[in-house]
């Protein structure tokens, strides 16, 4: 038991001793000062006060409480305490104290005056509560809050930057962009849109697209695309519309539309990209017209040359004049080549403009093979074309176009195997397709060119010097096979010959 308790007068009333024991056992620090003595010395402290402050009873008793300040005197709480003591009043503060080892403790201190019968203050009782943990948590919270605010600020800046960055991209794009909400109201348009359609953003923003500018966008196909087609075919690309626009005249536009599926506030918004292809289409059309007119114009002199040459050839034969016969034959071959070139050019032009007419009929596949093989066999004395496999089946296809493919592949096989003497044609009937493979023993094709040889005007490096040609035949053949929903491919190694194969469906 504390010495203080022992010194309390024994009155026979046990309750005072019980209270004293309770004070002593409290987890809160308790001190009592003597207000009658100068400098308010401590006359009592409990165990908890000792353990909280780290000082021993001996170091505490007889001293003013200020030893706990450790020089940290300039505190508002201290001023309040001094004021309360001076006025003999109750007071509660949170004050920074320092343990004997110098560590900071936050002290929630409550002081109450004790008065004698005349009302004079004799003592102050101080109850001390160590709230360091709470204070630390509060401080940590404040720090965390500041940190969070910094982060938010940082992120906001980043977002603003990235928004500005995206906006600058959107504004740089030379394509018109429109953002619509799900009710087709315009949320924003980019600069290019305003420049192209000669309208101000403020005039269109917030308007329903179809109602803007006297309904210049009120096009049934566009309405159908955005309202009915897009929700089930998102994104929708390459939708062409041609329309007369009030400020800019007739335009051919390609539209790409995408509905935002991302959950959140942007969901269901529609992004509409509009590309003006009016000029491009005109140029394409002019190019097509040019090729078409040019090849037509070439045919007229060619008709004259061919007719005159054949007539002269006939006359020479009639007169038994053999001197120029080989010259006539060479000229005839050159004319044939020129003629084929003109047809190929026309084909390319037609394929590119999608104007190739296909004429699908039912015929025997074997007849097609025979006709094409005979056709090429007649032009070569060096090679024998050997057919193997099964081809006796009725198919639905374009006879003339497939014959064109076969003639091209067969004459290539002959042309690119100058040292060979045989070309193999193998046909087979698959469950739904027919397959043709044409094998030669010629120069072959490097693997890097296997895909590219089907491109327009492409010619493999190793052959372009030795063999004349412009690189149209395989392109046209591939397009024809594609139109039949079939596949054309090559298997080949340089120097070891090539196998060109295609499959097409038996039924269309």
């Amino acid at each position: 038991m504390d010495d203080f308790l022992k010194r309390l007068p024994y009155t026979g009333q046990t309750d005072i001793r019980l209270f004293a024991a309770a004070v002593s056992a409290s987890h809160n620090g308790v001190v009592i000062t003597d207000h009658t003595q100068p400098d308010e010395p401590i006359i009592y402290c409990n165990k908890a006060f000792e353990s909280i402050t780290g000082y021993t009873n001996k170091e505490i008793i007889g001293h003013n409480c200020r030893f706990l300040q450790d020089g940290d005197n300039n505190q508002e709480a201290r001023h309040l305490l001094r004021q309360a003591i001076k006025n003999g009043e109750h007071c509660q503060v949170e004050i920074r104290n320092y343990k004997k080892n110098g560590r900071l403790i936050w002290n929630e201190l409550m002081i109450s005056p004790v008065k004698d019968q005349e009302g004079n203050v004799t003592n102050f009782i101080g109850i001390q509560n160590d709230i360091t943990r709470r204070k630390e948590a509060e401080t940590a919270l404040i720090v965390e809050k500041d940190h969070l605010e910094d982060r938010v600020l940082e992120r906001t800046e980043e977002l603003q930057e990235s928004e500005a960055y995206l906006a600058s991209i959107i504004e740089t794009i030379r394509e018109s962009l429109v953002v619509l909400d799900e009710n087709m109201k315009v949320l924003s348009v980019n600069d290019h849109f305003c420049r192209f359609f000669k309208s101000a953003e403020k005039d269109i923003r917030g308007k329903v697209l179809f109602e803007h500018n006297n309904g210049q966008w009120n096009l049934p196909e566009l309405k159908n695309l955005l309202i009915n087609v897009l929700p089930n075919n998102n994104p929708f690309e390459d939708f062409e519309i041609e329309n007369e626009f009030p400020n800019i005249g007739r335009k051919l536009l390609v539209l790409n539309a995408r509905q935002v599926t991302l959950k959140g506030k942007y969901q269901d918004r529609i992004l509409l990209a509009i590309e003006d292809i009016t000029e491009r289409r005109e140029i394409e059309q002019r190019k097509e017209d040019f090729i078409s007119i040019a090849s037509h114009e070439m045919k007229t002199p060619l008709t004259s040359i061919k007719g005159n040459l054949q007539l002269l050839h006939r006359k020479a034969q009639q007169n038994n004049d053999t001197q120029y016969l080989s010259g006539f034959e060479t000229a005839a071959k050159s004319i044939a080549r020129l003629e084929k070139l003109i047809y190929d050019l026309l084909d390319v032009s037609k394929i590119q403009s999608g104007k190739v007419g296909f004429n699908f009929t039912k015929f025997n596949f074997g007849n097609l093979i025979t006709e094409a093989v005979n056709g090429v066999q007649a032009t070569t004395e060096t090679h024998t074309i050997v057919t193997t496999g099964m081809a006796d089946i009725e198919i639905t296809a374009d006879f003339g176009r497939l014959e064109q493919v076969l003639l091209n592949l067969l004459s290539n096989a002959v042309k690119y195997s100058p040292n060979g003497n045989q070309v193999m044609v193998h046909t087979s009937i698959l469950p739904d397709h027919v397959k043709v493979s044409i094998t030669d023993t010629g120069v072959g094709i490097h693997e890097r060119d296997h895909k590219r040889i089907f491109e327009r005007f492409y010619r493999a490096d190793q052959i372009s010097e030795k063999f004349p040609g412009v690189g149209i035949g395989l392109y046209v053949s591939n397009e024809i096979i594609k139109e039949h929903k079939g596949t054309l491919w090559v298997e080949s190694q340089e120097g070891k010959g090539s196998v060109f194969s295609f499959t097409i469906p038996i039924k269309r």
Binding site: H296, K299, T300, P301, L302, T303, S304, I305, K306, G307, N308, Q310, L311, R314, I335, E339, G357
Partner: protein, 118 residues
């Protein structure tokens, strides 16, 4: 000797076609002016008419339609000659009897004419 009328706006085509057909023993009349074809047919009553498709003035198919409307001339066989493959459909739609694509082989030209004469 059969009488053949040819119309083409290109003089050189007209010349070689005439040479080929004359060499095969036919009598050939030729004109570069498509607008005169109908009256020439009426006046000369040729056994066959050979006509180009794309020409200044009346186009070949217009001439064919005009002739087909005239009952006294509608029996005359007409062969359309064109540098364009697509001309075939146009020619038949107008009422032509046969079609030959330019540039043609002289054998093919002679054969198609004889077929119409037979």
């Amino acid at each position: 000797m059969s009488k053949i009328l040819i119309c083409d706006d290109e003089q050189e085509i007209l010349d070689i076609t005439r040479l080929i057909l004359e060499d095969s023993g036919h009598k050939v009349l030729a004109t570069v002016n498509s607008n005169t074809v109908a009256s020439l047919v009426e006046k000369e009553q040729p056994d066959v008419l050979l006509i180009d498709l794309w020409m200044p003035g009346m186009s070949g198919d217009q001439v064919v339609r005009q002739l087909r409307k005239n009952e006294s001339l509608s029996h005359i066989p007409i062969i359309v000659i064109s540098a364009s493959k697509e001309g075939k459909e146009i020619a038949y739609a107008a009422g032509a009897d046969d079609f030959l694509e330019k540039p043609y082989d002289i054998d093919a030209l002679v054969a198609i004419v004889e077929k119409q004469l037979a």
